[in-house]
Amino acid sequence: MTSPPVAATHRVFKVYGSTGHRTTALNDVSVEAGAGELVLLLGPSGSGKTTLLTVIAGLEKPTTGDVTLFGKNVADYAPSQLQKLRAGNIGFVFQTFHLIDALTVLDNVLLVTRFNRQPRRAAKERALGLLTRFGVEGLAGAYPHTLSQGEKQRVAVARALVNEARLVIADEPTASLASQQGFEIVRLLRAFATDENRCVVVASHDERIAEFSDRVLRLGDGTLVS
């Protein structure tokens, strides 16, 4: 990786609980992820993958250590700046999709563009473009409950990309999908990283998606194993 990292952690510890009931979720973790690459955080349940994702995204503060996002220490961002950063520069893909039931597919995708007040017409064109690219353009007016699991995750990926995110955080994006559907989703993320020179960080326990990643970082009990 030659360009400066989009996201990085340096000697990060994350400890939950008080004295006597302390759980170390992250133990001296240092990672980097740059533009154009898909980094896979691989590990079993409870290994600290999701905690690392939330720390990288600025949703959670590390107990000690530094987190750098877009070249700036996360601790130096005000809460409102972090909110704007998430709305404008970070896309999220969740294990269970988390689409808003009351909104149509198109409105779900457009939701984040409202958060950073993007021009409506351009945002709509971009959203429809993504839905077309992911083969779900015919579902723009449909509601999430009418979609298959695979369709839901495609819509969720479109939502993550619609703000032209420089960083996409994907937490177990294939866990709720059948194998082929899961691979398709990872291929989409892979293509996004390569074609648009964006940074994608995926947390998963699925070894099979390692072949789509540029780097695999293995976690075990909060520690970076390899």
């Binding site: 704007k84 998430r86 709305a87 988390h98 009351a102 984040v112 958060f115 950073n116």
Partner: protein
């Protein structure tokens, strides 16, 4: 847009909430309209009088809830005061009208107003039907009193065993808890054995006479009377009426507003709780600080707005229906009442948003990763 879509995702709940709000709006409008109806019914008699001065017994300040006993002699003295054109006697008495078949009669209470038909002052402020009194054997009833107890024009009713013919039905004479009934002064005195007794004199002044000067002259001539100009007397009666009914009105209106706030707050809180995950997703995706509370406030305004429109629309036919079944209830709605209720709905919307917005603060974006 999102707020509306979230609301309409649960159409039954939204409709039921609107109906609940509409009922509260109807209740509040109804109370305000009843208040105005009572106000008109209680004050119209004094307001419509062309008397320049009212003379009552000393320490009596109104005709609604005070006793005033004067005599014919007072009238003679007043008439001799410089500047007085006429002094018309009126006698107010609480009494019963007998209704029902002979042998099974019941008394219904009314506010008998005996007036001098020759002087022509002190009678009903307006007639809804029929005519005014022409003889001692006649009576004019308040129209809502007549409707409630089934009296019609031409009926003969009994007061203390004496028959009176209903010749007219008056309006503006319903005080809600009691209604006026007009009889001649002679008949009123005879019925209750109060020879020469008068409750008040309605005084007309000669053209050019100064009310303040005449007032002073009357008080100088009669030490045991109170003299009021028209505006003061109207104000006294208004104050008496308000002190009697306003606390009740306020209490019920406040309960109505509290129920309205509770309904809205509960529904919005349930919406927040049900959509907890979705709201956490919005926070994680970078929703600005005011976005989600804004959703709650917009929802509150939409529900309250729809409920207010529905309630206002339903109020007018409903109030007519109530008046039909309970004629003693007279409602008088005014645009200002609708404005008050709309302002109240806005306040309730904001107030009811507080609790759900407070709940929003305990929703964390990290919840979507669990």
């Amino acid at each position: 847009m999102y707020a509306l879509k979230i609301l309409t995702a649960q159409p039954q709940r939204a409709v039921l909430t609107c109906l609940g709000i509409a009922l509260c709006v109807v209740l509040m409008l109804f109370l305000l309209a009843v208040y105005r109806g009572v106000s008109v019914g209680s004050l119209e008699y004094v307001r419509s009088s062309d008397a320049d001065l009212w003379v009552l017994q000393r320490h009596a300040a109104n005709i609604l809830r005070s006793t005033s006993l004067l005599s014919e002699r007072h009238g003679e003295v007043i008439r001799n005061v410089k500047g007085v054109e006429s002094a018309s006697p009126v006698l107010f008495l609480l009494g019963g009208v007998e209704r029902g078949k002979p042998g099974a009669q019941k008394l219904v209470t009314t506010y008998f107003t005996g007036f001098d038909t020759a002087a022509g002052r002190g009678g009903p402020p307006a007639l809804a039907s029929g005519r005014n009194l022409e003889s001692d054997s006649e009576i004019v009833l308040d129209r809502s009193f007549a409707a409630k107890y089934g009296f019609k024009l031409g009926d003969k009713l009994s007061v203390k065993g004496e028959a009176l013919l209903v010749v007219g039905l008056s309006s503006g004479t319903n005080m809600f808890v009691i209604q006026y009934a007009f009889i001649t002064l002679n008949r009123a005195r005879r019925l209750y054995g109060m020879k020469d007794v008068v409750s008040a004199y309605q005084v007309r002044l000669k053209p050019g006479a100064e009310p303040a000067a005449v007032r002073t002259s009357i008080r100088r001539a009669l030490r045991d009377v109170a003299v009021y100009d028209r505006d003061t007397f109207l104000s006294n009666n208004g104050q008496e009426m308000r002190s009697g009914i306003l606390p009740l009105l306020y209490t019920v209106a406040i309960i109505g507003a509290a129920v309205l706030t509770a309904i809205l707050s509960l529904i919005l809180s349930v919406n927040v709780l049900e959509r907890r995950k979705e709201l956490a997703v919005m926070k994680a995706l970078g929703a600005p600080a005011g976005f989600i509370p804004g959703l709650v406030i917009v929802q509150a305004f939409c529900l309250a707005g729809a409920g207010t429109v529905l309630g206002t629309g339903a109020f007018f036919p409903l109030s007519r229906l109530v008046e039909r079944f309970s004629p003693e209830i007279t409602t008088r709605a005014a645009p200002v009442h609708v404005a008050i209720v709309i302002a109240g709905a806005v306040a309730v919307s904001l107030l009811s948003s507080l609790l759900p917005i407070q709940r929003l603060r305990r929703i964390y974006p990290l919840e979507v990763f669990r």
